[in-house]
Symmetry: C2
Subunit: 277 residues, 2 copies
């Protein structure tokens, strides 16, 4: 059975045993959820991703246990119109022989609520292409695991005045930002890099894609190479994640990108439904 740990505020208020497998090996998962007016946004999608990830890793977590943890943390979420972030961090707990997990792990689920980071400027952000390549193990693709050292290294190398660093696959194709998914216009149609080649399956990308599909607008999968961004067929690039929603990329490696024509549509679709309750 999972042990639920509840931080007073930031996760630093809590401690975990130093033999936790999350610390030792990154053997766990996390979710970062926007809380608006006290309501966690797209909560069901986040819970599903966490439960699916736990099932793929073989970490026992039931939907009921997750609901219990959410019920216990709910009073930390402010009802005032402040933007907060709810973080769920699940580890396989302690034990096992080295890398080999115990047959019956006792997972830990750590919940914390903290103020949201400032929103990016609506006009767009400056991003760079990282020199740190992205490697995605097909057996772990899409899982928001605690193995994020590549993203840490790409973030670390990013110039101070940049908002995000985009990571490329071995062939030099743009896959995702360190903490954002990519959505771009090519010949007037929406594309996103192939989903089985990105590290994290994006909840916000699915949300925007669903919104577009309701308007009869498809999003296809397609590789994006940096050189495409300077061609006339290229219509603009968005960064998406659950906390920021959608923000256009204004400059890539210092060169101006086209302002997406349907900017307002995408930004509006990325506003989350509960914000309007």
């Amino acid at each position: 059975m999972v042990t639920i740990h509840l931080a007073d505020n930031e996760p630093g208020d809590l401690v975990v045993p130093a033999d936790d497998r999350g610390l030792a090996y990154g053997d766990g998962l996390f979710e970062t959820i926007l809380v608006h007016n006290g309501v966690p946004q797209l909560l069901e999608a986040h819970c599903c991703r966490l439960l699916e990830g736990a099932a793929r890793l073989g970490i026992p977590l039931t939907a009921e246990e997750l609901q219990q943890a959410l019920a216990r943390v709910s009073h930390r979420m402010s009802a005032v119109p402040a933007r907060q972030v709810l973080k769920l961090l699940l580890t396989r707990g302690s034990g096992g022989r080295g890398y080999r997990p115990p047959a019956s792990p006792g997972p830990r689920l750590i919940t914390s609520v903290m103020p949201a980071p400032p929103e990016p400027p609506e006009a767009g952000v400056a991003v760079v292409i990282s020199e740190i390549p992205l490697t995605v193990n097909p057996r772990l693709a899409g899982i928001k695991s605690l193995n994020r050292l590549e993203q840490v290294m790409a973030s670390r190398a990013m110039p101070d005045d940049c908002y995000e660093a985009l990571m490329c696959g071995e062939q030099g194709d743009l896959r995702e930002g360190t903490r954002t998914a990519l959505l771009y216009l090519w010949q007037g149609r929406w594309f996103t890099p192939p989903r089985d080649r990105v590290a994290v399956r994006s909840i916000m990308l699915s949300h925007v894609e669903y919104g577009l599909s309701r308007e009869g607008v498809p999003v296809s999968e397609g590789e994006l190479f940096p050189a495409q961004c300077w061609q006339p067929e290229f219509g603009g690039l968005f960064l998406l994640n659950s906390v920021i929603g959608a923000v256009p990329v204004q400059t890539l490696d210092g060169r101006k990108l086209p302002r997406p024509e349907q900017l307002a549509t995408i930004v509006s679709l990325a506003k989350q439904p509960e914000e309007f309750r």
Copy 2:
């Protein structure tokens, strides 16, 4: 400056803040060192790997700080002829904005001493080829980082009666075990898989290689495909790591491998010098 944390015994005696970046992102490194008769074996090589890894990740740790931590833990190491394991776990500490580390991190170094696992049978062990592929980011290759989820998954899928699971690259070439390096005989010569394609640079492999070189015997880099193991040119396969030394592989996926002709030589070279002090 690094904060040194010293476990009474197992690392579970200690706690770390739940916002530690080692837990959140696997943002750190570790070393597992055999202690024999109270003496940590190949200590200088382990310290060098930890310091080099820290430098590559940009985690500030000086050799002096590491020496201080070792001095503080030394009294935990038994002078009786018991085999123990000294674990050093270094994290970037708390702080930063998401993946982006703080400009001046306050790393944590956690030291613990625990009983060594039982030694493998001298006659050899049964191993399997894992279905979990190995992915190695060229910027992180060789670093014993806290991002070890692939190894956890391969260990988890391993049958109970197996000692180790071997992981393959995309092309199906055998790279390393979840916790061991590979050394094999092909046409009477020693080989190891190319070093820039393995996850962890092995201290024990270097130690054995140095021992062989003193006898004028070279170890070359060469890809190893499973099909080679059944060919007459194949002379046997060893697993190596700092805690077990060297052990021959008796069966691979249930099929018998040749007993290496120079078995005693390799096992003896993998005995560590301080054991004989």
